[in-house]
């Protein structure tokens, strides 16, 4: 056997093994062994009732300033737009997920005094959020229009009256909209939203 014959035979063997590995990886061992994918057995299980909420991600608008000829700048993390300001447009969301075993309702409020006036200040500031559906039927009623964010002493905003717990309908996104007036004080702003879950 010549060297080139050995090279092609080894290449064939490697490719064949890689192919088998790829098929197993994609379909699981059952796909090539005929392993039964169903069967009958008797078992007993106690599913613990648990209220649980998971929040993922944040919205970072970065730094910028209101344009010289604008009365305010508007930043929208859902539309991915900035008008009247130098901030870089972003499309970002916070994801809220029910990772428990019961349906929950979800309310939200900002920490401290961080409603629009407390967070931004100036003349007619705006700090709003809205729910963005990512899975069909996850919420019976989702607050899908931009709504003012209450601070920690105001009545929490009802975001979702019934967030289901099964995987195909257990989450939604939150986007934020800020309007920063040109007379807002300079400085860093950040706020934490507390997403409160209660069995629905």
């Amino acid at each position: 056997m010549t060297r080139i014959e050995r090279v092609f035979l080894i290449a064939l063997a490697v490719a064949a093994i890689t192919l088998v590995a790829a098929v197993v990886n994609e379909n699981g061992i059952r796909a090539i062994t005929g392993f039964a994918s169903s069967g009958t057995a008797t078992t007993s299980v106690n599913l613990l009732e648990i209220s649980s909420i998971k929040t993922t991600g944040s919205i970072d608008f970065g730094s910028g300033r209101v344009d010289a000829n604008a009365s305010n700048a508007t930043l929208d993390s859902d539309a991915g737009t900035v008008t009247g300001g130098s901030w870089t447009p972003i499309t970002q969301y916070i994801t809220v997920e029910n990772d428990g075993t019961v349906n929950i309702s979800v309310n939200v409020s900002a920490d401290g005094n961080n409603n629009a006036n407390g967070l931004i200040g100036g003349t007619n500031p705006l700090f709003q959020i809205k729910g963005v559906a990512t899975e069909p039927d996850s919420c019976t009623t989702l607050q899908a229009g931009y709504t003012n964010v209450p601070n920690s002493t105001e009545t929490p905003l009802a975001l979702c009256d019934l967030l289901r717990y099964w995987n195909s309908a257990d989450e939604f996104n939150i986007s934020s909209k800020l309007s920063i007036p040109n007379d807002a004080a300079p400085g860093q702003r950040n706020v934490t939203l507390t997403f409160s879950a209660s069995k629905a």
Binding site: F8, S51, K54, T55, S58, G187, Q188, A197
Partner: protein
Amino acid sequence: MNKILVFLIALFIVPAVIAVGVSPPSVEYIFQPGMSDDLHFYFRNNQDRDTTLLANISGELADYAKITSADATVIRPQEKMYVDLHFALPDSIGDPGWHSFSLVATELEATGGTVGARGQVVVPVRFFVQYPGKKLDIKMDAQDAGMGEDVKFKLSITNLGTEAVSNAKATVEIYKGTDKIGEVSTDEFPVDVLGKLTKDLAWNSGSNPQGVYAAKATLIYDGGPAFANATFKIGTLDLDVRNYTRVVGKGIINKFLIELESRWNRNIDNIFADVNVSKGGNTLTSFSSAMQTLGPWAIKNMTGFLDATGLSEGTYDIQIRLNFSSEGIERSKIVDGQIQVVGGEKIAPEMKANETKKGGFALSKYLTTINLLILIVIVLVIINIIILIRKKKKNENQGNTYI
């Protein structure tokens, strides 16, 4: 002042995921004067990092409860902890109905950012103060049905009072708009103190047409009536074409959507659409599309591809013929309309994104790892066979025996 620099940034590196879970998710009691109890709540950390949970009590009856274990605890990854709580209520907590306090579990970390997030779970501990005397509550659930089938009503009746009810009777009236079209009733039945029971009723929809109907339940007993309302739908095995692609581009193959709405209270299966585009009665192009299943009352798009390579700009007649079935019953329906064929540059951007160029082939669809590996194996097998044949011929020419 309009050149103010506003920083909307975070100060720290913060976790991307925040989660908090508590069990049980709620606790309920029938209020007894002076009652007290100890409760244990299970907190879990499903994350791969430590988490700090803060527990506190809030709500109307918060003054009567206190946490007896540590109220702030670091929970290790995949571990759990318990929060203990003790409450002792006075002899009276208010008017009949529900009263409560809540255990609130808040994760102290947040996701950070200009707008960050943290999770919080509120666990209500509720106490029901019974109504003096006789007080029944009724709730009703009405199920959708097909024409000629029974509409089933489920009545849930609870005695919220301090006295038993010996004779109660429920009647459900059915309305189409303001017209009463039917009525069904239960026999008389007793309801014990704190008793809960369900009563099932059925009303045959007969020949009443497809649509939305109202049901009004009245519970008559010697403490006074109670009421409940519900709506239900009577279905028929039918599909509505709510909308379809009205404008397509000339000279290309266009993605074509047909929005279907089910008027049936069961699954509709094996939905086939045959679409014909014609002018002056002459069919110019056609295509077919299929959908396996459409759920009860569901609205869903059916997708097909209309070849407009032979069509010039203008308005054309379109006919959508639908064939579908449910549980062995087959139906068909024809919808006529019009579409407009326009120059490619006039198509809306979202429609352009869905175009497939004439004669186009979505190669990327087939460029999977497995398909590439299969191709490589086939090529290598062919090369090895060629080498083998050549070697065999060479050996034969040399008069050798090849093994």
